[in-house]
Amino acid sequence: MTSPLRLCVRRSAVTGSREAATLVTLRLPSDVNCIEEAVELVTRHCLAGHESTESIRFRLRVVLSEAISNAIVRGNCEDCNKWVDVRAELGPDVISVYVTDEGPGFDPSAIPEPIRPEQLDEANGRGLFLIRKLVDAVQFNTQGNSICMILRRW
């Protein structure tokens, strides 16, 4: 069966970077069954050619899974006509991953922290919290439909 994922890898100058960085882009449909394959593909390209700790690999896989899940389920409402775009800018020291959906966006500051005792029994609401804890920096675009996650390689 042909994979519905569309992957592109190229070496190019990235705005704001002094050195040419490798750019990896991946477009996937709004189907949660595609997430695991997308995570493995992007992780493999993010870490290729660099010595990486198992911890970086783990953190990258978890935050990619979280961000893509949020984009598919909350952003695109699993609408099969909408796509999720992943763009990774790979520098020598830093990995910057953007995940963008076609939804209206949300206000990330309105998401409560899910660690209060009365919230521990809740099944949902830990995704963004985990992302914030596992990467070095998180940014959103103004619309709130694109997250940028920054991880230092070391």
């Binding site: 695991e36 978890v62 979280e66 005792p117 521990l120 830990r126 985990l130």
Partner: protein, 111 residues
């Protein structure tokens, strides 16, 4: 990749998570546990010795099955979490909700 289920001596149902526990397969785990509860199993162990990563949906599925098992008067243990996996439970404070042991053997002897 997926889940395998076995019955250990002492009547403990052991579910091994092989691969990831994520949004795409969390319902499979919930269904498996519900089936075990429906047939009367009350002592369950979920083992993560061969698990790569868990996402927040996977953590949420564990919270859900924990509630169901508790409501049925049963007990749940988790085992085999490596340092990275364990950090997810610590960051989210879920280490305070679950009974976690290092190895499945320790979990089995703790029921």
């Amino acid at each position: 990749m997926g889940f395998s289920e076995s019955k250990e001596s002492g009547g403990v149902t052991v579910v091994k998570v092989d691969g990831q526990l994520i949004i795409g397969n969390r319902h499979e785990l919930k269904d498996l546990v519900q089936t075990a509860l429906d047939r009367g199993d009350r002592r369950l162990l979920v083992d993560f010795s061969h698990t790569g990563y868990i996402d927040s949906s996977g953590l949420g599925a564990l919270v859900s099955i924990s509630k169901r098992i508790r409501e049925a008067g049963g007990e749940l243990r988790l085992s085999g979490l490596n340092d990275d996996l364990r950090s997810l439970f610590e960051l989210t404070k879920l280490d305070t909700l679950f009974a976690i042991t290092e190895t499945p053997e320790q979990a089995l002897s703790s029921f």
